[in-house]
């Protein structure tokens, strides 16, 4: 009977396997296709906006601490960049490809460059012929970062002149990581509570969907009533029709509701009891109204607003009377 290795063993074996790559040289020695030369320095300085005269002005360079023209130190890497159209060496014999595959096989498929450290032993001069060797400098254990969990891989490039003297070096660090899961999409805004619709007041909500605030009217005696009810309180008739409110009124009373807070309601939750010009009272929220405008007797104007696809409600805004 065999037992599956525990995760810890697996992970320890994987971590150990990554360390085998440290110190291995990547690929062949890169040879700069061109010796260090003034035209390429000129392109660099133009693009960077670098006006340091020691790069392009021979007499100023001669008078400087450098004693002659030099190449911008940060241009070091540019001399050995891969030619246009030539891809990375991804052959299986390349230890860097093997390392990359190993970490990718554990899910660390994304990549981001994190650090670059260049050290200059001396400034390069026109005529210098560079070569460069790359070594895998270090592979970190598993790290958790803001981007996700992964391994830092650091390569070291050493640059040599024609005499084989080192002129500079560069440590370049990338993070191979498993992308952190994307945050769940924001929950949809909760909807306002649904009215429990009955035959008696269905017309009122339907009217609002069409942008109208309807007032129920007794078809016998003409008395207006709100909230909706099946029977006229004056003449007991159950026959009714509606009129559309003009939308103007005055604050009869108001309250600002602080507690409990309901997610679907916007705060401050200002509730007004409005005496419509037609003579009935309506309860509603305010819009575009500051707390200091909430005054009993203040003139208000109706605005019917759509709260969601299935619900429109009346709102009132304090206006100049």
């Amino acid at each position: 009977m065999t037992t599956a290795p525990t995760d810890t063993t697996d992970s320890a074996a994987f971590e150990a396997s990554l360390q085998q790559f440290v110190g291995l040289e990547i690929g062949v020695v890169a040879v700069a296709p061109d010796e260090v030369n003034v035209p390429m320095v000129r392109h660099w300085c133009e693009a960077m906006g670098d006006t340091n005269p020691v790069y392009l002005d021979a007499s100023a360079a001669a008078a400087s601490v450098h004693g002659g023209l030099v190449s911008p130190p940060t241009m070091l890497q540019a001399w050995v960049m891969r030619p246009f159209g030539q891809g990375r060496d991804e052959s299986e014999s390349n230890p860097y490809s093997q390392l990359t595959k190993a970490v990718e096989s554990h899910g660390f498929t994304s990549v981001v460059a994190t650090n670059c450290e260049q050290t200059y032993d001396r400034y390069l001069r026109p005529g210098d012929q560079l070569t460069m060797r790359t070594v895998i400098d270090s592979v970190s254990g598993e790290k958790t970062t803001g981007l996700g969990t992964g391994h830092f891989i650091t390569t070291r490039q050493d640059y040599f002149d024609g005499a084989g003297e080192r002129v500079g070096s560069m440590l370049f660090r990338i993070l191979k990581f498993r992308p952190a899961p994307k945050p769940a999409p924001a929950a949809p805004k909760p909807l306002r509570p649904r009215p429990s619709l009955t035959f008696d007041h269905l017309f009122w909500f339907e009217g609002l969907k069409q942008g109208k605030l309807l007032i129920q009217r007794c078809a016998e005696c003409g008395v207006l009533r709100h909230p909706a009810a099946p029977m006229c309180r004056e003449c007991r008739s159950i026959v009714w029709d509606t009129i559309e409110a003009g939308g103007r009124g005055r604050i009869h009373s108001f309250v600002v509701v602080h507690y409990p807070q309901i997610p679907s309601i916007e705060y401050p939750n200002q509730v007004v009891l409005v005496d419509l010009d037609e003579g009935v009272r309506v309860v509603a929220n305010t819009v575009d109204t500051n707390a200091d405008q909430l005054v009993i007797g203040a003139a208000v104007q109706l605005e019917v607003r759509m709260c969601d696809d299935d619900l429109s409600l009346p709102f009132f805004k304090v206006v100049q009377s």
């Binding site: 133009e46 693009a47 960077m48 008078a63 400087s64 130190p73 940060t74 460059a113 650090n115 200059y120």
Partner: protein, 142 residues
Amino acid sequence: MNSLHDTDVNVGDQLAPLVLPLSRSLIVATALASRDYQDVHHDPTLAQQKGSQDIFMNILTTNGLIGRYITDWAGPDSIIKNVSIRLGVPNYAGDTMTITGTVTSKQDGQIVVGVVGANSMGNHVTGTVTLVLGATGQGGTK
């Protein structure tokens, strides 16, 4: 272009900020001048397909601009010994990067300047530059 000397510099000195509008042309021109032909530095369509909002500055250029920033301040008689940077948010075309610097150390003839290049999304680069200033009386072009 004047050169600074050791005696001109003190820990805590602040370098004048360099405000750099990141035009599409700048991103492309600097990528090509540094021989970096990766498509994310010049092709907006491919950059977007790879998940970026636009083309963005390559790392060689970030180094190059920091080098320029330092010698703009220190002058032609300065010698940069080391540039160590940590990369943050990308420098997308259309944004603006402001580079600032502060002298953080002065020891044994070496000056260390802490640099930050920030854009609208945060720090694109933070790092240090170690340099030597032309010594007084050694033929510097003061």
